[in-house]
Point group: C2
């Protein structure tokens, strides 16, 4: 396929790397000349563009790897270049706030949003690494019935990047679940690290603290957008989490060993089912 | 050295494995004949005992790898076997509740408590693995000035098991810090998993959820003891964490993007310093 990736950051760069390796003809668009030069030098892309967009009309698939708020602007500006049989997609971590509008703006092309559930606590194409997708969850989020051609294109991309399970769900269901598994976890990690009141903590950490707080290294611009665009679901999940923590806190206060053990057994059972 | 390990579970078994490999003469005591047979078969120990304790008087170092509440009972029952120049230690995750008493019960022997900051979400010697200690934090927790011989013995063990940084601290400071880096993280992981209200969550998880919740698979007997024995510090840490989460929640409620970004920047800076 001829594929154009808009936004050569960590995720866009990793897509470019993985898809080029699998023999696709990959092009890149980015505002940053250095990202384009880097991508060319590493053979992640065949050609890159900063302010020249005609490549968009020549590709089978356009992957928007930019922030949610930038997507609608981009689509508006370039909708005259989109063609029938083209598939446009994005990699955003929230969907409800823009996918319906994006679908309209895609015009003749078919818009099919997806979400690659993988990443790194780094920013920029220098950290691109296609292996992060291996075995990861891939979520397809159509707004109504799946368009067969677009589904085929996205599934091919998922396959070529070696994703694991592909799940098709509505954008609302996506945002509800991602609010829990992704945004709540980031909210917790950030709050845990920020509640650290000691200079010497590093001397007392084991793998558990390291694993739990890795995602507290977080891209502030991207994640503040994601949090606010999924505010309602995220608030609901935070409140449910706080209720559970309160149960544990009260058991502790009242020296209630049985309740503690019961909570530990419950979490062990639920979590064990999720082992790869 | 001649070393006797009391309790051949995951940690005791991993110590036996690693110390035998480094040429020490390791003996084991356990109530479970199967654990002893397994340890002998794998050459983790030279000999093992279920209800015969004379080996205790023949060793240079006795490592108690049993639950906090069992330690004092064990010391009481066998204090007549302890000798001068012997070093007795334990691997417990809390210290204040028993180390002073243990030191008295050790009689002629020198008691020097320590804490290996490594583990696995598994129970039993079948999962023993000495490589978990490689590079990990090793905490020495004397109750007053360090006894030079005991310090030397423990540092040799830390070196042979390939631990990283060795830090010497009081038992109170230990419990305060471990309440934060270890017990709070477990409380959070357990509560997060228990707040999961969906059957299909596994389809929506990425590495962040996996990493954050791995320790929700937890040994209920051990950890309910650890939590309750460190109750005061742990409650304090939970409350501080809840305050931070509230700040984030309120920023979200009021669409306060600047505060969100500031929280993300703060956590990124603090956490980045902890990278290995």
């Amino acid at each position: 396929m001829k594929i154009c990736i808009v936004g050569l950051g960590l995720i866009g760069g990793s897509y470019a790397m993985g898809l080029s390796l699998k023999g696709h003809e990959v092009y890149g668009i980015d505002q940053n000349i250095k990202s384009i030069e880097y991508a060319k030098e590493k053979n992640y892309i065949k050609e890159g563009f900063i302010d020249e967009y005609h490549i968009l009309s020549k590709c089978d698939c356009i992957i928007l790897a930019i922030y949610p708020q930038a997507i609608l602007d981009f689509l508006k500006q370039h909708s005259h270049l989109f063609k029938e049989d083209q598939v446009i997609t994005d990699v955003c971590g929230v969907k409800s706030s823009f996918v319906r509008k994006a679908t309209l703006l895609a015009g003749k092309a078919t818009y099919l949003s997806h979400h690659p559930m993988a990443g790194k606590e780094k920013i920029g194409i220098e950290y691109a690494d296609a292996s992060i997708f291996k075995g990861a969850n891939f979520l397809l989020t159509p707004i109504d019935s799946l368009h067969p051609h677009a589904e085929e294109v996205l599934k091919q991309i998922a396959k070529d990047l070696e994703f694991g399970r592909i799940t098709t769900i509505s954008i609302e269901r996506h945002d509800q679940m991602i609010g829990f598994t992704s945004q709540l976890t980031h909210a917790i990690a950030v709050s845990l690290v920020n509640s650290d009141q000691d200079e010497d903590t590093v001397k007392f950490i084991g793998d558990s603290y390291r694993d739990l707080t890795r995602i507290a290294m977080i891209n502030d611009t991207l994640w503040s957008e994601l949090f606010l665009e999924n505010k309602e679901y995220l608030l609901e999940h935070i409140i449910n989490f706080e209720k559970e923590l309160d149960i544990l806190k009260n058991a502790l206060k009242h020296n209630d060993k049985d309740t503690l053990k019961q909570l530990f057994n419950q979490s062990t059972q639920i979590r064990r089912k999720m082992e790869k």
